[in-house]
Symmetry: C2
Subunit: 164 residues, 2 copies
């Protein structure tokens, strides 16, 4: 609960490792519409910070970069150099099956789930759960280039009986 | 990048599975200062939605609940019933070691990293990296009750040379 000691805390970002940053950046910016706020290259890895630019694209490069640790809803992608072309690299665990189960997914809220999913289909995005699958008809799951699950939801979801 | 088709998209939440919701809710609300927006119990699992209530605690229960899929910075915890008391349950993977490597961490931005870490130490929170460890002296990593990594960062971090 809010208290004096934690006032000003923000849930800034979620980090996942990606095999091929080119494919991932393309997916998160072109398919999901995020903006690359900044990236920083170390010797053996590069960090990419992405988020929705709700200013409508009016922020300067400096403003985007300065916001990477000072807002909520940021996605950090870590690329360990070489994984994208290493035939011995078998890929990262999605977190949704053994071994490695724990992490589940990120979720994107979209104003129109039906339109969003139709567009994802048209763009060839793989689905884990289409709107028509299962019981919950207003929730879908798509897969990012590494196979991480991304839930696609409307701004208001009724999870089941009694949840009003 | 922002475009007409993805306008209004939000990075709503990140989901991780937790062994014992009582311990996790206590940690995320009392230690990290998040607010429980809502929870929903299914037959075999319960979902908990938490986030920072930047209204300063003035939101009604209904407003908090309605916001769970309509804002950024939400954390969803999934509790599969029984894990908290099952001696055969060995715990969830953090995502940061093999097998299961992929997911990395969530990060909390805090106005005063030194004060925050002093408080975490006083509360007995385990650290993966104290401020004094390693090269980056303004970043710490703490562990949540399941061993998931949580980065603690100031609103502005310079990652290294050339990153201004």
């Amino acid at each position: 609960m809010p208290n004096a000691e934690t006032a000003g805390y923000q849930f800034n970002h979620t980090m996942v490792r990606v095999k091929d940053p080119e494919a991932s950046i393309k997916f998160y910016t072109e398919v999901l519409g995020m903006t690359l706020l900044s990236h920083y290259k170390f010797d053996s890895f590069t960090l990419y910070f992405l988020a929705y630019d709700h200013s409508g694209g009016t922020q300067t490069v400096k403003e985007l970069k300065d916001s990477r640790f000072n807002r909520e809803g940021v996605l950090e992608l870590t690329h360990n150099h070489g994984t994208e072309s290493d035939p011995a690299f078998s890929g990262y665990a999605s977190g949704n099956s053994e071994p490695g189960k724990g992490y589940g997914h990120i979720a994107i809220t979209v104003p129109d789930v039906t339109a969003a999913c139709a567009r994802f289909e048209q763009l060839g995005v793989p689905f884990k759960k289409k709107l028509t699958d299962g019981r919950m008809k207003d929730i879908a799951f798509i897969l990012d280039p590494d196979g991480y699950w991304i839930e696609v939801i409307p701004p208001r979801v009724i999870l089941g009986p009694g949840d009003e």
